[in-house]
């Protein structure tokens, strides 16, 4: 087997490289389609289509008017980003012979995943985007709402980490005395073959889009798959980027994602300036903060956000199926509450679309963005060095065999 295949297909990638590539690709995707890499908007539309299937008339729901319901998920670029991510991730998992139905031993995980999925779906859409549009691709668009969202998500995940550390929530693992010799796994190599077939079929679909004149769908299907491959190979987890800081001071994902965002900010600014595009700016309002808080709590409860959930599900971690359903339920509930329950009037109407590029000019906007990202990076490094599981920040010189061994 060639070294290239081994290195790029059969090995996990450095999360830094995966995020750097994702940052560049998302800027390119914006340049081509003028939309950003995002997923939850499409989840909300899926919820709308399901309601329509059951005869509900959603044509006068203002949230659906806001995000647009034209066509079906198969005729929208936002749709193909989602299905492409599933496809790209699944292809890599199959090529690696790593699909396995992974069933949690504790039944409570199903309920936790579903509940967390609802809270995260609701919160993300309240803020008008999840960790992608309101974070990873929002910051590089210099939209102020993404800063509010990022801060609120940080606070939310802290609360979430406290919740899941409670005994009743986390439950007990299976601990046995002595050594266990697991059954030797049989090595069957069916999955890589299926993976190759799937890759060829998906490639043909992309070609089909291009030759039949659906260029944008082809672009979305291609970029979706690339994003799926990147997050799966890099095992990118936005939830872990926040949550693990509060659990064991793990900052690998945090740092990788911040680096990716810094690169994407520069690349996106180049695209905006070169092609004279308008950045995608979303409303910054109290809803952004409240949405970020809920999103933060929800993704920790569900153990995955709307992005990470996708490749986990493809790996066969079926506990993410209720998370996926929960995401759609939560997003759809928000679409209903938006006008029917006065959410817009209470939390959104007072806001404004604020973009740093127009407010302070491109130079300062980039400087401010990179400065805040660098500050966040420094905090992550500090947490990694000093925060320890079960000890917190209290004893920076904590070493193995310290006071914890007294009993």
């Amino acid at each position: 087997m060639s070294g290239f295949y081994k290195k790029w297909v059969l090995s996990y990638w450095s999360p830094y490289m995966a995020m750097a590539l994702a940052g560049i690709l998302s800027a390119a995707y914006f340049g081509i389609t003028k939309t950003v890499w995002a997923v939850t908007g499409e989840f909300t539309r899926l919820g709308g289509h399901i309601l329509e299937l059951f005869g509900t008339d959603i044509s006068d729901w203002s949230y659906y008017q806001l995000i647009g319901m034209k066509g079906t998920t198969w005729t929208r670029t936002d749709g193909w980003i989602v299905w492409g991510m599933f496809a790209g991730a699944l292809i890599m998992i199959l090529l690696n012979n790593n699909f396995k139905i992974r069933v949690p031993r504790q039944k409570r995980r199903w309920v936790q995943g579903f509940a967390g999925g609802i809270v995260a779906g609701f919160g993300a859409r309240l803020a008008l985007g999840c960790n992608l549009a309101a974070f990873f691709t929002g910051v590089p668009q210099f939209s102020l709402h993404s800063w509010i969202f990022m801060l609120a998500t940080g606070i939310g995940t802290y609360a979430g980490a406290k919740l899941i550390s409670a005994r009743w929530w986390k439950g007990k693992p299976l601990l046995t005395k002595g050594s266990v010799t697991p059954l030797r796994a049989r090595s069957r190599k069916v999955q890589p073959v299926v993976g190759i077939v799937a890759a060829v079929a998906y490639g043909a679909l992309i070609v089909y889009f291009f030759v039949t004149g659906h260029r944008m769908l082809g672009v979305a299907a291609l970029f979706g798959a690339l994003f799926g491959i990147l997050i799966e190979r890099g095992q990118i987890c936005f939830t872990s980027a926040f949550r693990d800081l509060w659990i064991s001071g793990r900052a690998t994902m945090t740092k990788a994602i911040l680096v990716g965002m810094a690169i994407s900010s520069v690349a996106t600014l180049i695209v905006i300036e070169t092609y004279g595009l308008d950045p995608v700016t979303k409303m910054a309002a109290p809803s952004t903060f409240v949405g970020g808080l809920l999103f933060g709590v929800g993704i920790v409860m569900a153990a995955g956000c709307e992005t990470g959930m996708m490749y986990r599900l493809m790996e066969g971690q079926i506990v993410f199926l209720p998370v996926f359903v929960g995401n759609i339920v939560g997003a759809t509930a928000l679409a209903y509450a938006w006008d029917h329950m006065g959410v817009y009037d209470a939390l959104v109407a007072s806001g404004a679309k604020i973009n740093l590029l127009t407010e302070i000019g491109p130079g300062f906007a980039l400087f401010a963005t990179l400065f805040v990202l660098a500050a966040a990076f420094a905090v992550a490094v500090y947490m990694q060095k000093n925060y320890r599981f079960g000890e917190g920040l209290g004893r920076p010189d904590f070493k193995k065999g310290g006071m914890k061994r007294v009993r």
């Binding site: 693992p173 299976l174 050594s179 266990v180 697991p182 793990r250 986990r312 971690q317 599981f389």
Partner: protein, 75 residues
């Protein structure tokens, strides 16, 4: 090298493999061996890295068994 305890956390997704492993190690006496079996792909990486960061050592190289990963950790 035979383990004193075995933690089978197959089926559990992040962050529970890391939490369970560090929690169990905390309650063990120094020098005891803990065998950990995981199948969450994120745990292939974050369990060994967090274990080492928290001052424990891997008693031998992680062993892949099909889609499971087996760690032997010295408390």
């Amino acid at each position: 090298m035979s383990a004193d305890y075995t933690l089978d956390i197959r089926g559990e997704s992040c962050p529970y493999p890391v939490i369970y492993t560090l929690e169990t190690l905390k309650d063990m006496s120094r020098g005891q061996l803990l065998q950990v079996i995981v199948d969450c792909p994120a745990a292939y990486r974050n369990v060994p890295e967090e274990v080492v960061k928290h001052g424990y050592e891997l008693a031998r190289e992680p062993e892949k068994n099909g889609r499971d990963m087996i760690f032997l950790i010295k408390a």
